[in-house]
Symmetry: D2
Subunit: 367 residues, 4 copies
C-alpha cells in the first residue's frame, strides 16, 4: 500500500514533522480522496501552532486548500452546486462540516455555530484513522457531506487560496452586516482579513473606504483592493490622530460601517468612535480569545450602535467567493499576486515560520 | 401679570426650590401654553439631581408630563397626528425637539441623535426666558415644532405617565431590535424600563419571557406585564445561578433576545452569556455613563451576536405608545396602577427623594 | 403478512375506494412506520379530488396527519428537534421532503421551492411500492429524511390537525411578510387559512385586525381567533362597501398589511385597495391556478406596495406551530374546536364530500 | 420691473407658448430665486403634454433642472445638507415638496406618498402668482422648504441633468428593493430609467446584469452603464426567446431581481417569469396608468415572489445621486454624454417633439 506524506504538528511551538500515513485507497460512500495542489497558511494556523486554541495533537493543519480529485466514493458524483464531479477535477471545499441536525443548523439556520462542527486542518487528530484531514499533506480524505466545489477554469487555484478563508469569512460578515451602497467604510487592519474586507466592501458598493494598517506594502495592497484612503499606523501613531484622519475622509460624524480586522482587543475601543451614531461596528477579527479590554457600554446606548459579530462561513459563502472570482478578473489577479512565498511540503515548517513573521504577503505550501 | 410656580433645581443634590415665573401669556406662533396635570419622576431625574449628567442650572426638571391646553399660538391648531387641537384638550408631548435639518435628522433619518436636540425638563436653563420648559411646574410653554399629542379619551393621563418615557424608549428599541414572534426574551432589570420592555415584548409576540430583578413587588409587576418566569436577584444571588435559571426557561442555548434594562455596566457581562449564539443583545439601560467594565470582544465574534443600542425616542414612538394604550385596557390599568406615590408641586422635593429611594412604583407630581 | 387499509383516489371526481396494501413490516434505515390516528381534510384535497392539480393516480391523499410510531428504521432515534423517538410516541411530520441539495435548497435556502420536492398525500402514486404515502390510511411509511416531530403531551392531536397545514403555511408567510407590532391587518377570507392568518397576526402583535368573509359561524370563529372587526360578505355585498367598512376600522389610508386567503383571483383586485400606500399585500390563497384577472400594475408603482407570495412551509414552521400550540392553551382549544366533523376511514369519501360542501368547520378522518 | 420668459403648456397636444411673467424680485423668507441653466425633458413631460396625467393648465413644465442662485429669501443660507448657500451658487433641488406633517410623512416616514405633495413643473398652475414653478423658464422661484442642493464643483450640471429624475427614482427603488451583492439582475427597458437602473445595480454590486431593450445605440449605452448582456427586442422578437436569452445569462432558474423600466403594462407579464422563485420583481416603470393586463396571481404565490413598487424619490435620494456622481467620474461622463440634443428656451416646443420621438439620448433645454 502506498504512503501519503504530511507535515504534522506534534507539539506546540515545535517544528512540524514530516510523517507518512497509509494511502486510504478506495473512498467509502460519499467520500473523496483529493491530491493537494496548494494549501494556504492562515493566521489562525500560527495561533494553532502556538497552542492558543485547543486542538488535538498530532494535527495535520491546513484548512485552506485546493487539489485534484483522485478518487470518488460511491454515490458522490456531483459537487455542492450539482455540477458533475470526476477524478482529475480541480476542487476546493468548505473547511467545516456542520451536522445539519442540531438546534443551530435546523431551527436557527446558522450552521457556523453547529454544535458538532468539525474543521479540516483544525479539529481532527492525525493519530486517528484515516489520518488525512488537513491540507499540509499530499492528500486529504474528505468526509461524506463535505461541501466540495469544482473550481471553474477561469479561476486559478492560486487566486482562490490567495483569497483564502479570509474572503469567505468576510463574505459571511457582509451578509450579517449588509452595506447600503454608498456607505462609508473603515477597515481596521490590513492583514488578509482586512484586505478581503476592503475587496468585499468595494464589490458591495461602498462609498469611501478607509484602511488603517501597515506596513507600507500592505497599505499599497489595501489601495489595490479598493481603499480610497490609507492610514499608516507607523506614521499616524495615536488613536486620536487616526480618528482625525478617518473623519477627514468620511465626514465629521464617522463612518457608516467600521470593520475590525485586527485581532487585538484594543482595536475595538479605537474603532467604535470611528462609527457614526447609528452605524455598524463589525467585530470580525477577534477570532481567538486575546483577552479583555476596559470597555464602556454606555457608548453603545448613546451612539445607538449595532455591534455585529460573525463567525466562520457556510458553504454558501464559498460558492459566493468562487462566483466573485469567476466574475472579476481584477480580483483574481490581486489575490493571486498576494501570494508572495511558496514552499514545498518538506519545508512546511519554514513556511509556517515565514507566515508567522508577517514578512510579506500570503504564504502557501505546494505539496 | 399672573405668576407660574415651579419646582427648581438650583444646585445638585440640594432640595428643589419653589420659584415663580411670569405667566408667558399669549403664545407666539406655533407655541402652546399647557397647564400641567401630572409629571412623572423618571430615574433620569434622579441622575440629573445628583449632577451625573451635564445640565444647565437652574433647571425645571420633568420630561414626562401631561396637561390641558391653556392657550395655542397662532397657526397651531392640529396635533402631531393632524387632529384638531383646542384649549382645554388633554395633551402630552414628545420631550425632545429635533432640528429636522442636520445630518442625523435628514440624511440618516435618526432624529434621536439630532445634533442640536433639546429636551424639556433637561436641556433648558430656567433662568432664561420664557423659563417654563419643564414639567415640575404649573405650566409649560411648548416651543413651536413640539410634537403635541391629544390624548384619547380612553387613555387616562395616569396610564400614560405611569408608562412614562420608559415605554416610548422601549418602543424605539423594539424597532431597532425587532423580535420574531415566538422568540424567547430575557429582560435584565425590573425597573420602569424593564417592565416596559416586558410589556412591549409581550405585545410583540415574544415566546417565553424571563425577567431578572427585584424586589418581590417588582417581580410581581413583571409577571403582571407578561413575564413567564421571574428570577429574584435577592434569592438567586450569583450570575451562574441566574444563568441556570434562564436556560431552564428558554432552553440550553440561551434566549433569542436579551434586553439590558439595569443601568449598571456589569449587567452587560452577565447578560451576554444569556443570549444564544446569533442572538440579539440590546443595551438599553446604559443611559448614563456609569463607567467601564472588563469586557472580552472575542465573545461577540464567536457567538456572532448582534449588540444593539437605542437612544431615546421619536414622536413616532409616542404615537405608537398612545395607540397601544388606547387599544389595550389591561396595559392601561397596569401602567396606571404602577403609580404608587403622588405629591403636590410644593412637595416636589419629597417626591424626588421618594423616587430615589426606589421604595415602590412610580412617583408623580400633581401640580 | 398483514394488510393496511387506505382510502384511494383512483379517478378524479369519483368516490374514494378502500384498498389494502401489504404492511411494509420493518422499515429501512431512517424510515418510520406510523399508525395514523387522525388525518385532516385540507381544501387542497378537494382540489386534488376534482383533478385541478396534476397528481399521479391512484393516490392516497392526506397531507395533514398525526399518529403513533409503530416501528423505527435503523438509525432513526431522534426527531427533527433532536428529541428521543420510540415506538408508541405520538408524532406528526412535515408533509414535504426537500432534497437539501438543489439550487433552491442550498444556495437560496428556500426549500419550499426545492426542485424535487415531494409531498405525502399528494405526489406519490399508490400503485408504487411501498404504497403507503398518504394520511387517509391506517398506516404511513415515512421516508428517511422526513421531518418528524414528537408531539408534546400538552398538545392534543386534534389541536394540531385542527390547525392543519393552514397554520404552518401562514407561519411561513408571516416570516416572509413580517408585521411590525401594532400594524393593522386585514384578512380576506375566513376559511382555515384565513383563521390561521388571524391567529398568527394576533400572536405577532397586530393592532386592529379586520376579517372579511362568511358565513356567520366562520365570522364568529374569526372573532374568537382575534379579529376585532368582521365584515360579512353576505351582508356587505359590494367591494366598495367592504372597503368602507375596512377603512372605518383601520383608518382612512388603509391597512398596513392585507392578507389574501380566499383563493379566488378576483380577491386580489378587491384587496389591494385595502392596503395603505407602502403597505404589504400578501398573496397567500392563490394556491391553485384559478385563472387570470384584469389587473393594473400601475397601482403597485403608485402605491409603492410590496406584494408578497409564500408557498408551503418548511420543517422550521412545523416546529414553530407546535411550539405556539404548546404555549397557548387558548389557541389549542380553538383549533381543536374547529374540528366539527369526524369520519372513520371507511367513510373517507363522505368526509371529502362533507369538506367540499364547506358545511362547517374542519373535517377529519380517524382511521 | 423686469420680465421672465417661460415656455408654457396651455393646451394638451398643442405647441408650447413662450410667455413672460413678472420677475418676482426679492424672495420671501425661505424662498430662492434661481436662474435656470439647464432643464431636462423627462418622459413624463411627454405624457403631461399629451394630457395623460391630470395637471393644471397653463403649466410651466420642467421638473429636472439646475441653475444659479440669483436671490435668497431671508433665513435661507444653507442648503439641504447644511452647506452655505450664496447668490451665484450652482444648485439643483428635489422636484417635490412633502408637507412633513401628514400620516405618510410622519407616521410612515414615506414622504413620496405625502397627501399634499406638489412637484415643480407638474403640479402648479402658471396662471397663479408667482407663476414661476417649472424648469422650462429663465427663472424659477423655489418655495420655502424646497430641498436645495449646492452642486459640487466636480459635478457638471449636464451630468446631473443627464441622469435626471431617472437616477433619483432608481435610487429610491434600490432602497426599497435592496440587492445582495452578486445578485443577478435583469433590467427591462433601456430608456433613461432602465439605464439608471443598470448604473445603480452595478454600483450596488450586482453580479450579471442583463438589459432587454433597444434600439442599438441604447443597448450600447446599456453596456456602457454596466450591462453584461443585452437583448435587442428588434432581434429577439418573442418573449420566449428573450426568456431563453436571459436564462442563458443568469442561470436556468431566473434572476434574483428583475426591474421593470418599460412603462407598458405587458412588460410585467413578460418580466415575472424572468425572476427566480423567491426573487424580487420591481415595478418601476408603471408611472402612468397605461391600462390593465390579464394577470395570474397564482404566480406570485407559487413562485413566492416579492413584487415591489416605488414611487418618486425623497431629498435623501437626490443627496445620494449627487454623492454618487461626485465619487464616480465614469458615471458623470456617461450621464453627461447621454445628452444628445440641446435647445434654447425659444425652441422648447421642438425640444419636446424631439424627446417624444425618442430619436436619441436625453434632450435638454438651455434657457
Amino acid at each position: 500500500m502506498s504512503q501519503v506524506r504530511a507535515a504534522v504538528l506534534e507539539a506546540f511551538e515545535q517544528p512540524l514533522q514530516i510523517r507518512t500515513y497509509p494511502d486510504p485507497g478506495a473512498p467509502a460512500p460519499g467520500e473523496a480522496l483529493v491530491a493537494i495542489d496548494i494549501a494556504g497558511i492562515c493566521g489562525t494556523d500560527v495561533h494553532l501552532w502556538l497552542g492558543q486554541l485547543a486542538i488535538p495533537l498530532p494535527n495535520i493543519m491546513g484548512h485552506e486548500a485546493a487539489g485534484r480529485i483522485e478518487k470518488l466514493g460511491p454515490g458522490l458524483d456531483r459537487d455542492w452546486r450539482g455540477e458533475k464531479l470526476a477524478p482529475g477535477d480541480r476542487v476546493t471545499w468548505a473547511s467545516s462540516i456542520a451536522c445539519g441536525e442540531c438546534f443551530y443548523c435546523r431551527v436557527k439556520r446558522q450552521p457556523t455555530r453547529c454544535l458538532t462542527r468539525k474543521a479540516y486542518g483544525i479539529s481532527y487528530c492525525a493519530a486517528d484513522a484515516p489520518h488525512l484531514r488537513g491540507g499540509y499533506a499530499e492528500k486529504i480524505l474528505l468526509r461524506a457531506g463535505t461541501a466540495i466545489f469544482r473550481i471553474p477554469d477561469a479561476v486559478p487555484s492560486e487566486a482562490l487560496i490567495g483569497a483564502g478563508c479570509a474572503l469567505t469569512t468576510t463574505i459571511h460578515a457582509s451578509e450579517r452586516a449588509p452595506l447600503e451602497w454608498g456607505d462609508s467604510v473603515v477597515v481596521q487592519g490590513t492583514g488578509p482579513v482586512g484586505l478581503a474586507a476592503i475587496a468585499v466592501a468595494r464589490v458591495a458598493g461602498a462609498g469611501v473606504i478607509v484602511a488603517i494598517g501597515g506596513p507600507k506594502h500592505r497599505l499599497e495592497l489595501a489601495r489595490d483592493f479598493g481603499a480610497d484612503v490609507v492610514v499608516d499606523i507607523a506614521e499616524v501613531t495615536t488613536a486620536e490622530a487616526r480618528r482625525d484622519a478617518v473623519l477627514a475622509a468620511v465626514g465629521p460624524y464617522g463612518a457608516d460601517q467600521v470593520i475590525e480586522c485586527v485581532g487585538y482587543p484594543a482595536a475595538v475601543n479605537e474603532g467604535i468612535p470611528l462609527c457614526r451614531d447609528g452605524g455598524q461596528y463589525v467585530v470580525l477579527g477577534q477570532y481567538a480569545d486575546a483577552g479583555n479590554i476596559s470597555f464602556n457600554p454606555h457608548t453603545i446606548t448613546r451612539k445607538q450602535l449595532r455591534v455585529i459579530g460573525s463567525w466562520g462561513f457556510e458553504p454558501r459563502h464559498v460558492d459566493r467567493a468562487i462566483r466573485l472570482l469567476e466574475r472579476d478578473a481584477g480580483l483574481r489577479e490581486k489575490f493571486a499576486c498576494g501570494i508572495t512565498h511558496r514552499f514545498p511540503l518538506d519545508q512546511a515548517d519554514a513556511a509556517l515560520e515565514n507566515a508567522r513573521s508577517l514578512a510579506g504577503g500570503k504564504t502557501v505550501i505546494l505539496p
